[in-house]
Symmetry: C2
Subunit: 228 residues, 2 copies
DNA sequence: GGAAGATGTTGACATTGTCCACTTTAACCC
DNA sequence: GGGTTAAAGTGGACAATGTCAACATCTTCC
């Protein structure tokens, strides 16, 4: 304690939790500007540190964005979990997750694109473990709803049904993914009809799956990040 | 003519068609690097002009990317038109277009993202007219297939059916858009199962639409760029 | 209490998008 | 045809950025 309490207005040499501060600043700037083209230096400025301090916590701008993406996954997983709480009907749960998914994406398209939009598509293993966990949790919720009968009949979550369940998830996910991006990018609108459109598309898709599920061929993986 | 014919190996002061050359270079670099983060200056180098010459043809990097996107739309529209040629069955035509769409996106994800990925999402009117035309042509092909009975029964392309047809297109487009991006970003794989997966998802979706089409509410637009 | 490592800082460098002033060429008008 | 004008290309400048290297300061832990 070399600092005088009354005079220590300037923060100490060490920030305390720069890692978190930088990620939060990045999340803020990303959400405001809806672009990943902000500068590391601005984040440093916002955190009140020198332009090079972030490099002690992230090798790269890429790595930083990976961390931001991971936070996005955690937020989304939480949203989806919250949405299904207190819902008994498995179909209702599945629908609620879809709404949370689409809503999250539309609410922050830039973050959504960062998470799913192949910025890190090539280098797969660079993504933080937290992200995988969040993705795993999301998938588990969906599988549970399906196995509980969300698609008209219970489908036990066992080896024999894997390809069927994965097929259902693929249809579900790609439909919602596409809808989210069309809405987020304003390729479909207007904005105040989004909920209604989501409801329409969602239930048409679920009804289709109730009718028949196209099983996925052997050897197909759904994810990462939705890796199980 | 101050130039000696035998000595004029260095190109003339004026390039001749720099506009096209730059766009083509951009398309090349984009396709190779799968990223929009190339530099205008490199394009200039490739075209053999000074770093500032491109600015006589494009106000901005944004504007250049807009032109590249427009080319992408033309290519895609052409692909889709080719795919339906010589196909009688309307359902076959719709399926063929879907395959062309997904295939195009998976083949060049960066271009696809540039076209549909909201890089120019905010500023809508900056997009070249050519792009709108191409998008319009694509939509017309789809509408024709649907009206010819691709979804089990003919649905005349008239005022009374607009919302139904738009509803079908929304389901169709969002499903294929989502699938394309999941495949392109390797969120689903492996790569050599793409055709099979596409076929599965596609026909499940079409069957669903045959069964029932969720009409779109009043006032909804599909596009731009799929503006009608 | 001192060494080692983590965290921050300053300075430097090549690269980039974009502005400006200038030059060269082609097109057009009388 | 000769001269004006506008289009197309050039070179230089500037601030900003990602990233590297060398140095400073604080913490931790034997």
């Amino acid at each position: 304690m070399t600092q005088d309490i009354s005079t220590r207005e300037q923060r100490p040499y060490h920030h305390g939790d720069l890692h978190r501060a930088i990620v939060e600043a990045a999340l803020d700037v990303l959400s405001e500007s809806q672009s990943t083209e902000f500068s590391l230096r601005e984040l440093a400025r916002r955190a009140g540190v020198s332009h090079n301090a972030p490099y002690k916590h992230f090798a790269d701008k890429r790595e930083l964005l990976g961390a931001v993406s991971a936070v996005g996954f955690e937020l989304l997983a939480e949203r989806m979990a919250d949405a299904t709480k207190e819902l008994d009907s498995p179909r209702q749960r599945l629908a609620a997750m879809a709404r949370a998914y689409v809503g999250g994406g539309v609410n922050n398209p830039a973050l959504y694109r960062l998470m799913f939009g192949g910025y890190l598509a090539g280098q797969d293993e660079g993504r933080p473990a937290i992200e995988r966990t969040a993705a795993y949790n999301m998938k588990a919720l969906i599988v549970a709803a399906i196995s509980d009968g969300a698609l008209g009949r219970p489908i036990a979550d066992n080896e024999a049904n894997t390809r069927t369940i994965d097929g259902a998830i693929l249809v579900f996910w790609s439909q919602m993914h596409g809808l989210t991006l069309l809405l987020a990018d304003r390729l479909v609108g207007p904005g105040d009809k989004m909920e209604e459109l989501t409801e329409n598309v969602l239930h048409a898709m679920l009804d289709g799956l109730v009718n028949s599920i196209p099983a996925v061929p052997e050897g197909v993986w759904i994810g990462p990040p939705l890796a199980g």
